[in-house]
Symmetry: C5
Subunit: 141 residues, 5 copies
């Protein structure tokens, strides 16, 4: 997922300086995100994580999410977090497709957010999904 995100960012921002770190599990991400911001003063982060299907994995996901939220609040840097949950599909091919689609769309979202936080407004309420086909706007009802 990391190389896909980098590729996508390079497409939109060919001159972007990208730093990639890898940690063992999702609970290692918030601390590493904070250290990366402290070290490189990055403009923004995209963090990519894989979440297992067990109940304990979901609890780790909550703690991880609270951690990511704190780093974003404390540092003032946009952090887009992309997680793929193993139980989103029993078919590994489908899971891979979800992971790639979500990673690409969120990599673009990070660039949009960094350029202009009002940019995504035109897509609000359109039922856009990352990892799945879009569900369409609620206004059609």
């Amino acid at each position: 997922m990391g190389s896909i995100a980098i590729e996508e960012i390079k497409k939109l921002e060919p001159t972007a300086e990208i730093i990639r770190w890898t940690v063992p599990g999702i609970k290692d991400i918030p601390g590493a995100a904070k250290r990366m911001i402290d070290t490189y003063d990055c403009d923004g982060l995209i963090v990519l994580g894989w979440v297992g299907r067990e109940f304990v994995d979901k609890l780790s996901y909550v703690a991880y999410s609270v951690g990511i939220m704190f780093v974003g609040i404390l540092t003032g840097k946009p952090i887009i977090d992309v997680t793929v949950h193993e139980d989103e599909s029993d078919d590994p091919k489908e899971l891979k497709k979800i992971a790639l689609d979500r990673t690409k769309k969120h990599a673009r979202n990070l660039i949009y957010l960094l350029k202009d936080p009002t940019y995504l407004t035109k897509w609000a309420g359109r039922g856009l999904r990352q990892g799945y086909p879009d569900v369409g706007p609620i206004n059609k009802y």
Copy 2:
């Protein structure tokens, strides 16, 4: 939901200066709320989010809620958070109705809170609901 909130705020406060940002998902809201307050020193915020029906969406909702709470505590700014949960109804029309009603009422609540934090006291314990019809006061029993 964003345009509905803006419309409603404009009705009560025609001269209010309103800034609208859009982020990809609910977990991006707390960080963005903090950045918006840091950038514009807004008097208050209304944040609008759509929450899926899966268990993981609910866990994201908890983390998001903790994040929103922190931003409110750290910045001292009123942040009204409006979420609509996809499993509140299986009927998209009903869901849209809930979203609109809740957004309007909470947009008004934000203005009331900003003008006078004692304003809502006369409605306390009346069983007022946002998104649904009011349930009435417990004092009738």
Copy 3:
């Protein structure tokens, strides 16, 4: 519940200066509590909330509780939080009784805590309940 709490506090502390704010929902309480302490430097707070019976209401309750805890830790002010959960009874009369009893007892607890944090020690382990009849001390076994 607000007026009951005020009445009860006035009984124990007739000269107490009481400020009452009202917010739309429980997740608005921690931020408002922080702002009230910042504005008035209150000696202590009693916060009163109504929690729905849905799973999402319970998740909001967790986030709210974490928020209240933070405000208490950060400000150093005693904050007694009183919540009534709609699923504590299917009978609205019973629910009202629970709400009143819990509010009164916790209003008194706030005063006791403010006067002397050792005051409640004589009641520790006695199985006192707020909202329900006391269950008695475990020492009787």
Copy 4:
């Protein structure tokens, strides 16, 4: 449970200065712990709580636990938290036994931690339990 803890601490540290506060419920503990440390600059704390058997009690337990963790992190003081859960046994006598055993063992643990944080190493991985008989070391397998 408070008097048991005090007794046990006095046995190991006859000259220890002990301050005891009592609060209405477990969610009042983190704030009170912070205030006690701010007031008395205690070397360490043991906090004792009783947790109900309902789902909402368990949610309060999570929030309480996060709160305790924060106080420990922010103050740098060891805080041993002892909770007894009403659903650990349907037999009040058994529950009392659990509460007493856990309180005594954790009171001792507090003293050990304060004297020397390496002290408990010799008991690590031995399957020691507080409130229940020890389960034995995993190394026997």
Copy 5:
């Protein structure tokens, strides 16, 4: 688990200075981790915990995880957390095997992270597991 972790670290970093503390339960770890960093200014930490099979143990695990995340964010130090959950297997021999494998692999991960946060990138997306056999890369699909 502590001695296994030390052994493994010594293999990769024979001159590493290692400090080992032991606390009664997982909820005591975040505070102790913070105190250890404050006292010794350690470069990194590996924390090892055993989690019971009850629902309340899982709730303690969430609170613990949030606590660990905060310590990592606040101190800027890498903290690898290793937990073994009693319900990962009913066979104590299997459980021991999981604990040893996970501890060894994460001890190595800590060293890698400390030496170079980009080091693990070559293993990203390979489906590596700690405690279990690796599941292989998603790219094979």
